[in-house]
Symmetry: C2
């Protein structure tokens, strides 16, 4: 199986040639009835047809919660999600002397539940409808920017109509890169209360050190409860609100997962790139990932050098430094993963096979209508040339993007000038991100800057970025940028020194004043950095326009590629899922360990013994005394795994997940809840591009660990009873 296959793979390339997509797939609910044979073959025992109904169990129980996913586990709106998804809610209720992050929390009863942070939302989907025809009708015959705008306008109109219904939040999202459009209608629950959370030492046991790692021993879960007004509609917090009655809730299994068991997961995965063109894979693998991590590494070195010289600068840039390091590490991990999976070659081979099918007689998928092979090939060729066009300035775009997003004061100047420009328009016509509703966020960023900015460090970072810019071929240069910073290091250095010496934007009150100032006054400002930003603005607007043109064309033409891919898949009787786009998806597979490298096998289930092994008494491995005592006591009862003879903690599946799947419920063959997704393994960091069945795993809390903790360690028996799994005693 995986381990021996892996050995074979590296040596003989054998397994790689097997159909690898067996467990790949983030399926839309409406696709699941079609997958009934595969689901049954995989071991699913309930009715696959029922999975298409978003208003009934099990999928109606699955909701967006904060930045992740959650699932209702009782008829009274009790919601299970990750500790890290509910983190803000727990933090909101923490204060000196009553630190719930540290101590954990268990409400004694419903009236003891704590008000959540005002920004925490639970979104219950109550409508998911195809609106492709209406959206595309508006764009018919258009191209480029006009195509882009037509879709934008049609979508806005649909959203406005939809949101006429009270308490609903609507959106239009496209599938398969513009092939289909869907209107999503969601109930927006605003009164979400804290019911139960283990201490952080359990909820994020191992924290950054164990992040992405297996074996894991985190109890990354918490329980919230959604409330609604007396009228049953979403409402702000009020004591008189009553628990929300969800359309469905999940049943917790009495049994736990074991190696090879069927498993299924539903949630809101963020973004994947699995169906991108082979040339996009090649660019990411041959250039993008290495270029990005290399550039970040250079900036990391500068921040560390400046931090060594100036302790205050070190503190101010600590967060940015951590983010750079994290991203650089992830990019390198993703590259290593894609190389290990030989993704470039495989994607290219698959694409060539698809194109060959399209060119020859195969383009009529069995029993379906035919594709116009010639027209499709022409469109795909145009997509390739658009991508090539974008690639021509990729080095410049990378460095420019870093200049505009990873500086503090310069970014503030550019933002203020752009806002000044947009403020001159009616709000509805302003660019997204610069509308009235965005001004609070911009203000917050301008304030936050004070704690994240050091003039010397910013100039050093810019010097390096400008050096990289200067080394680019002339074809990638921008006249205004050349004019602003000159063509050699010395000019850049003296220019930066002059700009940063003269600007008053380092003063918070000066920055904030620009938010209220007359747009014309901002544009005419004699502040050195604001004036520079004003001079650069026409160029930046021109680049933005080009980008939108291209995006419009891609939105128009990529669907041809997807149609070819779908037809080719259909011809092989293989279903195809749309790339993830933050909409509800279902993945099925099985409980499964893996071999990270020759000679090492990871078990699919961990146990409390690992908590004791890892415990150092110091964060992030400071297991709470009650937990250690309970483990030592060994009183696990019916939550223990019979075969292992002890209490389990976390488990692995080969389910197809990505960021956004945090808090996704994991179901067994009968559709019962057995786990809670909270992470994936380091080896699968490249899975947003390529699903490698040898390495792609998802990490879940075993619901038996939750039950044991709530029964014996930090008891909340009334909640176990509410969830239908009463305490053992």
């Amino acid at each position: 199986m995986p381990a021996s296959c892996r050995r074979l793979a590296a040596v003989l390339g054998l397994c790689l040639a097997l159909p690898v997509a067996a467990d790949e797939g983030m399926w839309m609910a409406e696709q699941l009835p079609e997958l009934a044979p595969q689901l049954r073959a995989a071991g699913y025992e309930a009715d696959p047809a029922a999975l298409a109904d978003l208003t009934a169990a099990p999928l109606a129980a699955v909701v967006k919660a904060g930045g992740g996913t959650g699932a209702f586990v009782s008829a009274q709106g009790l919601l299970l999600t990750n500790h890290h998804v509910a983190y803000g809610v727990i933090q909101y209720n923490s204060q000196p002397g009553r630190n719930l992050l540290e101590q954990g929390f268990a409400a004694a009863n419903q009236s003891g539940e704590l008000r959540g942070s005002p920004d925490f939302r639970v979104l219950v989907t109550d409508g998911f409808d195809r609106v492709t025809d209406r959206v595309l009708a508006a764009a018919a015959g258009k191209k480029g920017l006009a195509y882009f705008d037509a879709i934008d306008t049609a979508s806005k109109a649909i959203v406005a109509e939809c949101e006429a219904l009270a308490g609903r939040r609507c959106s239009v999202t496209n599938m398969d890169y513009g092939a289909e459009f869907y209107r999503i209608r969601q109930l927006e629950l605003r009164d979400v209360r804290l019911v139960y959370a283990p201490p952080s030492a359990i909820g994020k046991y191992g924290d950054e050190i164990d992040n992405f790692m297996w074996p894991r021993h985190s109890g990354d879960f918490s329980l919230l409860r959604a409330y609604v007004g007396a009228d049953g509609q979403p409402a702000d917090y009020a004591e008189s609100n009553r628990p929300y009655a969800p359309p469905a809730h999940l049943t917790i299994s009495r049994n736990g997962p074991k190696d090879g068991d069927f498993a299924m997961l539903a949630g809101y995965p963020g973004v994947t790139y699995r169906h991108r063109l082979a040339s996009e894979f090649a660019e990411r693998i041959d250039w993008g990932l290495a270029a990005s991590s290399e550039a970040l590494d250079a900036l990391i070195a500068i921040i560390e050098r400046e931090g060594a010289r100036n302790e205050e600068a070190a503190v101010r840039y600590a967060s940015q430094l951590a983010s750079f390091k994290n991203n650089s590490k992830r990019f390198r991990g993703e590259l290593a993963g894609l190389l290990r999976s030989d993704a470039k070659r495989k994607r290219s081979e698959a694409e060539q096979a698809m194109l060959a099918w399209l060119r020859h007689d195969g383009r009529c998928a069995k029993g379906r209508r035919c594709l116009d092979g010639g027209e499709t090939l022409t469109r795909i060729a145009t997509v390739e040339s658009l991508l090539e066009q974008a690639s021509a300035t990729r080095e410049r775009d990378l460095v420019l993007n870093l200049i505009l997003t990873q500086t503090q004061l310069l970014r503030a100047a550019v933002t203020l000038q752009r806002l000044a420009l947009e403020r001159g328009k009616p709000d509805a016509q302003r660019e997204a991100g610069y509308q009235r509703r965005d001004e609070n966020l911009i203000e917050a960023q301008l304030r936050q800057l004070q704690r994240r900015y050091d003039a010397t460090t910013e100039q050093a970072l810019l010097l390096e970025l400008l050096r990289r810019y200067r080394e680019l071929p002339p074809s990638q240069h921008l006249a205004e940028l050349d004019a602003a910073f000159g063509s050699d290091a010395e000019t850049a250095r003296t220019t930066l020194a002059r700009l940063y010496g003269a600007t008053r934007l380092g003063d918070e009150s000066v920055r904030l004043a620009q938010l209220q100032a007359e747009p014309a006054a901002v544009r005419a400002s004699d502040d050195a950095l604001l004036a520079l930003a004003a001079r650069l603005q026409p160029t930046l607007l021109r680049l933005e326009q080009q980008r939108k043109e291209r995006e419009g064309e891609l939105l128009r033409l990529r669907p041809a590629y997807m149609a070819a891919l779908k037809g080719w898949y259909r011809d092989q009787q293989r279903p195809l899922f749309p790339d993830a786009n933050q909409t509800l998806r279902v993945s099925y597979g099985r409980v499964s360990g893996f071999s990270p490298r020759d000679g090492v096998i990871y078990s699919p289930v961990t146990t409390v013994a690992g908590i004791v092994e890892k415990n150092t008494g110091e964060d992030p491995f400071a297991a709470p005394a009650p937990l250690l005592a309970a483990i030592a006591k060994g009183d696990f009862g019916d939550t223990a795994d019979a075969a292992l003879g002890t209490q389990t903690v976390d488990f692995l599946t080969n389910l197809d997940t990505t960021g956004g799947n945090s808090g996704s419920p994991v179901l067994n063959a009968r559709g019962e809840l057995i786990g809670l997704n909270f992470d994936s393994n380091w080896e699968s960091v490249s899975a947003s591009w390529w699903f490698d069945p040898r390495y792609k795993r998802a990490v879940h809390v075993d619901l038996r660990y939750l039950r044991w903790l709530m029964d014996k360690v930090y008891p909340a028996h009334w909640l176990l009873t509410e969830m239908g799994v009463p305490a053992a005693r």
Copy 2:
């Protein structure tokens, strides 16, 4: 099995209570016939009785080779051992432009074999006889130092008689801490030639990084050939010498190891402490290991500090620093292992049970003669008090030992004064280590000092050691040392500065001149350090005398403890092996992976896929191009593992090994050669004291990897034919 047992263990303490010694044991050959039922139950298919015959196969094929073990694999004296055991021989044949360490070596035929380094010896045991009665008769009625000396004298007489036979090297060794004595007679083969060695990049693939680690991917083997003179007797190298015809040689198995298979290993393990008293376990766990690593860590910090200030000092102390770090790490690893195994408690419980048995009616082992329980208990109590006596100054002894062994110039001065003292006696009466035969080694050390000494660093190390000495309670102080260095830091500092400023021992010619000088002149030398060493000598001699007194008593009394232990074991029908003491031992068990921690399982067999995974192109993971090409080609033939479908590299067993077992042959159930021992895992670094079946593993080269390399990668088909496993084509 181990993994689940381990989980249980940490939680419930259950498995730990099971009889853990199942696979523990470094058996003397003469014990093996008694173990026939156990050997058969474990799966051994050949005749256990044959294992007692040291002059026939398989044990007669197993010899001491260099610092490790080797095994004859042909009737023409072809000897298989580790690459790291034969390292000096390969190095001896390397020169600029023809670096055999780098390139490897394969003799084209017998006449192409290369002369070995003159100091490399192969020792073939041809006599192993019990001489207990003769040795102990000489010591009868004696105590302490007299007992020690009587045994020493009797042993020397036995050795002298034995060595009258030409070409033999003899020794007397004791078993069970003085209970039994054996005369070992060995043929000393001095003409040992290099026949085959893979490149170091294979032989020590992973080197220090992988050392002690699993999974491993080293081809740590080489082939030598022993030659004798025309008369068949050991001889110095001569072209006319002919291959030695060993009394037996091993047969290489056509099949390889797989999980659970019976395995057996023979070799020369160094020293173990398994049968030490519970109080000795407690002292090592509660004090010794932590105290030693803590002291080394302090010295490491000083060497690193001085090295940062002075690059030349850094170079000079690099080797000592590496050794300190290695030892400190090992001590910590050993402590962690003993704590994890709860060895102190378990050893204590076992000892208490044994003493209870001794005190009560159980002391007559079933069917054996009775022990005099009262007398035995008295002797054990005396051993305890002797150990306690030694412990009273353990802190002082630790620091003094570091002063005398881990300084360069001071150690030289002390050595020169001691040698001057011994040179005044007839050679036979000189202290071991200071006889005429030792003078070459002393001279070499005095020369080597030049490259390992820095005056500032040595003074800094001594300042720290003296500081530790001064902090000891007065009861541990030595008047002469106090007089020499004073009672405060400032006096110590100025004294050291004066001594090191004045001494001329830093000059090599001055040091070496002392070797030839009149003993009286050395003793009366006005050199500052020599004079200090002369003043300290009476104290050091007094301490040495005390130590010998105690050792004599322990040699006299410890056998009582061993007799009790043996009787108690016998009563439970459990055999007992003597602690390892560099004599031939046999261990049996099985091929077995293990779980190093919760959720992780180590496979017992690695494959060439791991070589590719680890390959970075840089030392120590620079797999040679021919190896990588051969792996990519995948042409493994009959050396591939059928189940894994690829070429294996190394494997793990639960065999009982310790240092000295390097190069030990690993045999299968039919007594055929399947592997070559070369390391153990980090988790078993504490096994010299306590064998924990959950973690104790030995690491072996899979003979199929050797066969594949010699067949397809660096071919030497004539050698495969000689070994009876001809190349596949």
